[in-house]
């Protein structure tokens, strides 16, 4: 818990001794779409251009002359069960006892896990201070007895703040007495931002058609790498009513190529160790094989170092990465993953020490914990991704298996060139692993992309992956993977002994294909608009 929280046990001398539970009502029967809240918030919180803590989305619904413009004041939902706080590795995002989800920029490492986790796309990295931020109900104002800036500025009193525990507050009266809605209740976050009079066409981020031409009613959609434009391209609206997105702001995906690449290097680091252990246990190579003694610690170590490097480099505050270890928030899979990686790297380091001093028993003894850690290292990302509650593509129970197979493919593939030189006998089994794991992986991908999906979001993500923005890289990945299977099968089945270069070709196909696929998957998972 954040140190400041202890002092905030009692907000500003409120009228009741009950524990406060701050909530807001956005009354769209009153909102006239003037954007005063947006600007007052920018002013109060000194929010730079290009990012917003709150904005007013609008959707034009209907057909002339029966049409209307539906507004949605769009911002943090102050969830009771806040996925951002759960995902935050350092408690920089935290829930105060009074229910406000606040943040402390001084301890934010800029990992963007909160952004990935938020089902409402309400968090962003401030380009000035590189820390995550969002609406915090103007907690700095509440604590000196003032209403939030957006509440005060609103010409039509469409934004109210109040204590849900206080039945005399207007917020409690509206929430408890009137038909109100929240955004995406299926995400199980228990929002404390209630909408009165909101339209389904705005609440559902996939209900409105995105206009052509990169344009909204009076603004550009904004285009750049990693952008996730709001709305959906026709004819994929999630409503049968005519609904056209008429205003929104630019959105971006939190995790870019570094995270795609990290899943790949991590796969190599984990898979190499696991595959070698398999070869050892299967008697293909001996405990004194150079593959085990030298290749394992060096390749895994380098790949794991690259993994760590990528993770740190992806932080907006890389110099603060140590905070993951000094103030871990154990609910975060980023923290758990970091400790897994750290433990795994410790095993690898000891393994390397054993190599230097010829301590084979130590290496053998490390095998069991090493195997466990390697598996964890491979699969924890599935849990990390699953903490991104609204990235439906990633809510896949088979994702750990995916990742494990990916690690085996990568490990076996990376070992092939070494085996060719150091342990030729290991080449056929390695080819077999690459081929078999790739085939299994392709089957999983086939299932993932062809089975109907439970949610429109997952369906849209798959469509973007296979037929949309990421189709080239996706089909490159799938194609190279399939080619790797075919070549491996050909080498094993047709040629009795692998000819020079064929193993390397399989390795290259498998590794490049894997990287391409992982990139498509990581990016497609984030390409569905959430707001």
């Amino acid at each position: 818990m954040h140190p400041a929280v202890a002092k905030v046990d009692h907000i500003a001398s409120g009228p009741t001794p009950r524990p406060a539970k701050w909530a807001k009502v956005i009354d769209h029967t009153r909102c006239v779409g003037c954007h005063a809240c947006t600007v007052a918030c920018k002013s109060e919180n000194e929010v730079p251009l290009g990012v917003t803590r709150t904005y007013v989305k609008s959707v034009d619904v209907g057909v002339f002359p029966q049409a209307r413009r539906a507004f949605q004041v769009t911002r943090c939902n102050q969830c009771d069960d806040a996925p951002c706080a759960t995902a935050c590795p350092t408690s920089a995002m935290f829930v105060r006892p009074d229910g406000i989800v606040d943040f402390d920029k001084s301890i934010c490492i800029g990992c963007k896990a909160c952004i990935a986790a938020c089902p409402y796309d309400a968090i962003f990295i401030n380009p000035e201070d590189h820390a995550a931020e969002k609406c915090n109900f103007c907690a700095h104002r509440l604590d000196v007895g003032l209403e939030p800036a957006c509440v005060v500025v609103c010409p039509t009193e469409a934004i109210l703040v109040g204590d849900l525990s206080d039945p005399t507050s207007r917020v409690a009266q509206i929430v408890h007495r009137e038909p109100v809605t929240v955004r995406r209740p299926e995400k199980d976050t228990q929002p404390k931002l209630f909408y009165r009079g909101a339209h389904q066409a705005t609440l559902d981020p996939l209900a409105a058609r995105r206009p052509d031409g990169g344009l909204y009613m009076w603004s550009e959609q904004g285009t750049g790498p990693g952008d996730v434009p709001a709305g959906v391209a026709a004819p994929w609206n999630n409503t049968s009513a005519a609904a056209l997105l008429s205003y929104d702001v630019p959105h971006t995906a939190p995790w870019h190529w570094r995270v795609s690449l990290y899943t790949w290097t991590k796969g190599i680091a984990a898979g190499t160790y696991l595959v070698l252990l398999g070869l050892l246990l299967g008697g293909v190579v001996s405990w004194s094989s150079a593959l085990w003694v030298w290749v394992a610690p060096v390749v895994c170590g380098v790949a794991l170092a690259a993994t760590g490097g990528l993770l740190v480099a992806d932080l907006k505050h890389p110099e603060r990465f140590y905070l993951i270890f000094t103030r871990p928030q154990w609910g975060s899979w980023l923290v758990r993953g970091a400790f897994i990686i750290a433990a795994y790297s410790l095993v690898l380091a000891l393994h390397f020490v054993g190599s230097l001093f010829g301590w084979r028993d130590l290496q053998r003894a490390l095998g069991a914990p090493g195997a466990v850690l390697a598996v964890l290292c491979a699969v924890y990302t599935a849990y990390l991704f699953a903490q991104a509650k609204a990235r439906d593509l990633w809510q896949n129970p088979l994702l750990p298996l995916h990742l494990l197979l990916q690690a085996l493919i990568a490990g076996a593939a990376i070992l092939l060139p070494f085996a060719g030189r150091l342990e030729p006998a290991a080449v056929p089994p390695l080819l077999g692993i690459v081929g078999a794991a790739s085939l299994a992986h392709l089957l999983l991908v086939l299932g993932e992309t062809t089975l109907p999906h439970g949610t429109a979001h997952a369906r849209l993500a798959v469509r973007e992956m296979t037929a949309g923005r990421f189709r080239t890289v996706f089909w490159t990945g799938v194609g190279l993977g399939a080619l790797a299977v075919l070549v491996a099968a050909a080498v094993l089945g047709v040629l009795a002994t692998p000819i020079a270069g064929s193993a390397a070709a399989v390795a290259a196909l498998a590794l490049v294909g894997l990287l391409a696929y992982e990139h498509a998957y990581v990016q497609a998972g984030q390409c569905v608009p959430l707001a």
Binding site: H2, K7, V8, H10, S13, P15, T29, V32, G33, C34, H35, A36, T38, V39, A40, S43, N45, L49, G50, D60, G62, V63, F64, P65, R68, R69, A70, D104, K105, D129, C138, A139, H140, R141, L142, V144, G145, L146, E147, V152, V153, P155, T156, E157, L160, V161, G162, D166, S169, R170, P211, D212, G213, L215, W218, S219, E220, G224, A242, S246
Partner: protein, 977 residues
């Protein structure tokens, strides 16, 4: 630092504030949280820094200084948070002490911060170095600029060319200061923007009630009828939106006429999207329904309409009874059936009948409002307010709770320190002889009038005005401004670059809203208040005990304010007082010294604002001190139906009552510190002044019209040659379907965006980020046959040229109509300019053919504000107004904005933002519309240029109204004729 300890010192929450004996400002949430800090702490208020929060609780100390927003006409209150350490403004919030805006603001209020910190703003006086419009400037001293300009003005005045001095204002933002300056100079040099804006709206109201603006009491209405988009724009956006929504929440019905789906239309219980120009037909169909069904307020109509005058003039053969009138009234509007209105408007007749039923249910709680909208769009558009107000007049919803007031009763203009006499000259450039009934100056015809050889300008000031961009036919303005034979010296008084300033001789930086003094009052509910705009840093430093004698001492760079500028300029025009000008700008307290703004306003607040001195004294403040501290003062509320007030006996001496009940008196007019403009009906033949009207035997105050009643029948219109328009009626627009070619559509070019304001908000990055382009709204039914999709380029062809813009295909507009907001399309040629929202263009000219080509949009750039490197938008829209010819309505003088256009997919040579215009063609269109007029020289009933009773800014003396004697040949007309 401990929050509880902090709270004991600074919390604004109810219990803490009240425990300290301080003011608690309840917010909309109605909980213990305040919306504003207690006013007792406005000298030193502590807040926690939002950026350091919550890691560090950094206390920031602020002085809260009120001022007034200058981003639209609403004049909402602002509170500047002046950091006590840096003495810079940290933010602007609303002012809870402001009765109009009640502490709330639209987006443009807090965005004021962007304007004062705009890296592209003009900080020093500049003088043109190259040719006009070449973009070369040198910095000059204020002294040099003032001396040059003053010498020119002095010469013009002493040589009898005083009317060659013209002050052309867009948003005045103040009541009376500058008109007083011009009166002191003795020149008829006031020119406004009003005829490209609200003259149509004003005319319709003025002919009814002698006051040219409505003041709807939305908050108490049962039914609100807006022919406008007042929930997002217009007079008065934020103050009215608050009250409209308040009434809606209490169950009032909202009817909105708007051809496009505005934010206002979306809130309407009845959204009527008529064919542009048919609004009056619908309103008359509603009126006809009320009349036909006998649903109107008979007593009100009998008492307050000038029906007797109507019968006497138009039906002298009929018995002069109210029943006769009712019978005639039924006949007059019988043909305005819902079917007829439906045919004209394209709106389903049943929907119109629904609206009529809703209107009928309002009783006296019908608040109606129109201002620009249809009144500013159409030939004869001034009949839209005339027919709209007819509904109020039928229901008796005039100055009732929830009804519509004449604005003058909800406005207070305090009398200033000196009142110079009326100028004795008439300026034919602003009030040409062809437009005797124009409600305001024919400002937008200026280039054409000058081209016609009607005069010359020695000094031409523009202030918060950008005619090259705002007015129709901007290329003709460029031709005028760059022709030194027509304009001797043009001076742009502006805080920021604009398209007109590029062609000026001097660009003189004047303060933004929080950097200047102004006093104003606007009708936003049934009450009267004044608002005080002040330079907040000056006020802050004075609070800290510093003595500030000139606003430049606290403004950035050498930015000044007009109040002090006019006083100084007037001294330099008449340094020794020999012209009789200087005396109006001299201190009373310290004769021989310049009048200081402090003294100017202190005098007003001490002498002309009832209740203010007492209220100030109760707080231990001087009246000026009170206004500096709170920024606004409510003089009264619940003014009520003043017309029903009996005239006091003291005002009734030697009373004469005319045939129709107009009462005249010999009693002098009691002094009234409120000099709000009103109609000024003429005295009777013996010189008695009109004082009231006899109704059922009692002399009541009535309305400031010639008859003293609501003028259903305007004798003025009849006498000046427009008898066909004398009653509320429907005039077919120049864009009526019958007037369009088969391939033409109507272009609505007047709509505003809720976050922008004309040319004044381009320097607000937060607003630009939200709205930065103006695609052409077009219905799929029109777009599909052309295979147009949103974002595709279209060429829009007007009578004089074309522009190329992107399409926005939407269900939010009537088929057959296209719409493009006028809030976009700013441009600069090169060099100086606003870089967040101005495209860089090249201007080409071959004889009368002009071309504007967009070279590039906006892009990130380095400046003192790191945010300018984060500009992510590139588009700034297209400047459509350049392609519009002038369309002066022959009666109101209003520019009729709607255009008949052809819309085609862009051709291969068309590029986004292309504009091409022929100014020769523009001049021909001007001549065509000029031919629609009924000039005073042929139609004046009494040898004057204009009915004296009509309102007029800077009204000249009575003699100046006399038409030149036609027996002596008139010399070629010049300004000041």
């Amino acid at each position: 630092m401990d929050t509880k300890a902090l709270n004991q010192r600074v919390s604004a929450a109810r219990r803490d504030a009240e425990a300290r004996g301080e003011t608690f400002y309840p917010g909309p949430s109605r909980i213990h949280l305040a919306s504003f800090p207690p006013k007792e702490r406005w000298d030193d208020w502590v807040e926690l820094d939002s950026k350091a929060w919550p890691g560090r609780r950094v206390e920031k100390r602020y002085m809260l200084v009120p001022t007034t927003c200058f981003n639209c006409e609403s004049a909402c209150g602002l509170l500047a948070y002046v950091d006590r350490e840096t003495l810079q403004v940290r933010k602007f919030e609303g002012n809870p002490e402001h009765p109009g805006s009640r502490g709330r603001n639209c987006a443009k209020g807090p965005a004021t911060l962007n304007q004062i910190t705009d890296p592209d703003r003009i900080l020093y006086p500049l003088k043109r170095a190259g040719r006009r419009g070449e973009g070369k400037w040198v910095q000059v001293s204020w002294n040099e600029a003032l001396d040059d300009i003053a010498a020119r003005i002095r010469r013009a005045i002493t040589e009898g060319r005083g009317n060659e001095v013209m002050y052309h204002v867009g948003r005045p933002g103040e009541d009376g200061f500058t008109e007083r300056v011009l009166a002191a100079w003795g020149v008829d040099g006031h020119n406004s923007h009003t005829n490209v804006c609200s003259s149509g709206g004003r005319a319709g109201y003025h002919f009814w009630m002698g006051v040219d603006r409505p003041s709807p009491d939305h908050a108490n209405a049962r039914v609100m009828l807006l022919v406008s988009s007042h929930l997002e724009a217009g007079h008065y956006f934020n103050p009215h939106a608050q009250r409209v929504i308040e009434a809606k929440q209490q169950g009032a019905k909202l009817i909105v006429f708007d051809t496009r789906l505005s934010n206002t239309a979306t809130h309407a219980d009845h959204w009527i999207a008529p064919h542009p120009g048919s609004e009056a037909a619908i309103l008359l169909a509603i009126a006809s329904y009320l009349i036909r069904r006998g649903l109107y307020d008979r007593e009100f109509v009998r008492r307050w309409w000038n029906w007797e005058e109507y019968l006497a003039c138009e039906h002298p053969e009929r018995p002069a009874t109210f029943e006769t009138f009712e019978e005639i009234l039924r006949g007059l509007y019988a043909s305005y059936t819902f079917e007829f209105a439906s045919q004209e408007s394209g709106v389903d007749a049943a929907a119109l009948e629904d609206v009529a039923r809703t209107v009928a249910s309002a009783g006296t709680r019908l608040s109606t409002h129109t201002w620009r909208s249809a009144a500013a769009g159409n030939l004869g558009g001034w009949q839209v307010p005339r027919t709209l107000f007819l509904l109020n007049a039928l229901l008796g919803a005039v100055a009732t709770e929830g009804g519509t007031y004449p604005n003058a009763w909800n406005k207070y203009v305090p009398k200033p320190i000196y009142v110079p006499p009326h100028p004795t000259t008439w300026n034919g450039l602003t009030w040409p002889i062809e437009y005797p009934l124009a409600i305001n100056e024919l400002s937008f015809l200026l280039p054409h009038l000058l081209k016609d050889g009607r005069g010359h300008l020695e000094v031409y000031f523009t202030r918060v005005y950008n005619p090259v961009w705002t007015n129709p036919d901007g290329f003709s303005w460029i031709e005028m401004l760059t022709d030194e034979r027509l304009v001797g010296c043009s001076v742009a008084l502006t805080p920021t670059w604009n398209e007109t300033a590029f062609f000026a001789d001097y660009v003189l930086p004047m303060g933004h809203g929080p950097e200047r003094h102004d006093l104003h009052s606007y009708e936003q509910y049934d009450g009267q208040w004044i608002g005080f705009r002040q330079p907040v840093l000056r006020a802050a430093r004075e609070r800290l005990g510093e003595r500030v004698t000139d606003t430049r001492q606290t403004n950035p760079g050498e930015v000044w304010e007009e109040n002090e500028f006019w006083i100084e300029l007037s001294w330099r025009i008449d340094p020794d007082g020999s012209l009789g000008i200087r005396k109006y700008f001299e201190s009373q307290r310290e004769p021989g010294a310049r009048l200081a703004v402090d003294e100017y306003y202190a005098h007003i607040f001490e002498h002309s604002v009832p209740g203010l001195p007492e209220r100030a004294a109760a707080e231990g403040l001087t009246p000026l001190g009170f206004m500096r501290r709170y920024g606004a003062f409510e003089i009264t509320r619940k003014v009520g139906a003043l017309y029903e007030t009996p005239v006091p006996l003291a005002e009734l001496q030697d009373v004469h009552v005319s045939r129709f009940g107009r009462a005249y008196t010999r009693a002098a007019k009691p002094p009234d510190p409120n000099i709000v403009p009103l109609g000024s009906p003429e005295p009777d033949a013996e010189g008695r002044r009109p004082v009231g009207v006899r109704v059922d035997g009692e002399i009541l105050r009535g309305f400031p019209t010639p008859s003293g009643r609501l003028e259903f029948y305007s004798r003025t219109l009849v006498e000046w040659g427009w008898s066909e328009c004398a009653l509320p009626t429907y005039l077919r627009s120049h864009v009526h379907p019958g007037a369009l070619e088969h391939d033409q559509m109507v272009l609505i070019s007047t709509f505003r965006l809720p976050v922008q304001i004309h040319t004044r908000s381009a320097n607000s990055k937060w607003l630009d980020e939200i709205a930065h382009t103006n695609p052409l709204w077009i219905h799929p039914r029109d777009a599909d046959p052309m295979r147009l999709r949103t974002g595709d380029l279209v060429r829009v062809e007007t009578e004089i040229g074309h522009f190329v813009v992107k399409a926005w295909v939407t269900e939010g507009i009537r088929p057959g109509v296209v719409a493009c907001s006028h809030h976009m399309g700013r441009w600069k040629v090169q060099g100086a300019g606003q870089r967040q929202a101005m495209a860089t263009v090249t201007l080409g000219r071959a004889e009368d053919r002009w071309e504007l080509r967009r070279e590039r949009g906006v892009a990130p750039y380095a400046s003192v504000d790191p945010d300018t490197l984060r500009i992510w938008w590139t588009d700034v829209g297209v400047h459509q107004n350049l392609t519009f010819p002038v369309h002066p309505d022959p009666i109101s003088g209003q520019h009729c904005w709607h255009q008949a256009v052809r819309v085609r997919p862009a051709g291969p040579g068309d590029r986004y933002g292309d504009i091409a215009v022929s100014t020769q063609r523009a001049h021909e269109v001007y001549a065509k519309w000029l031919a629609l007029t009924k000039p005073a020289e042929r139609h004046s009933p009494d040898g004057t240029r204009r009915p004296y009773w009509l309102m007029r800014p800077l009204r000249p003396s009575r003699d100046a109204y006399r038409l030149p004697d036609r027996r002596t040949p008139e010399p070629a007309p010049v300004a000041g004729e």
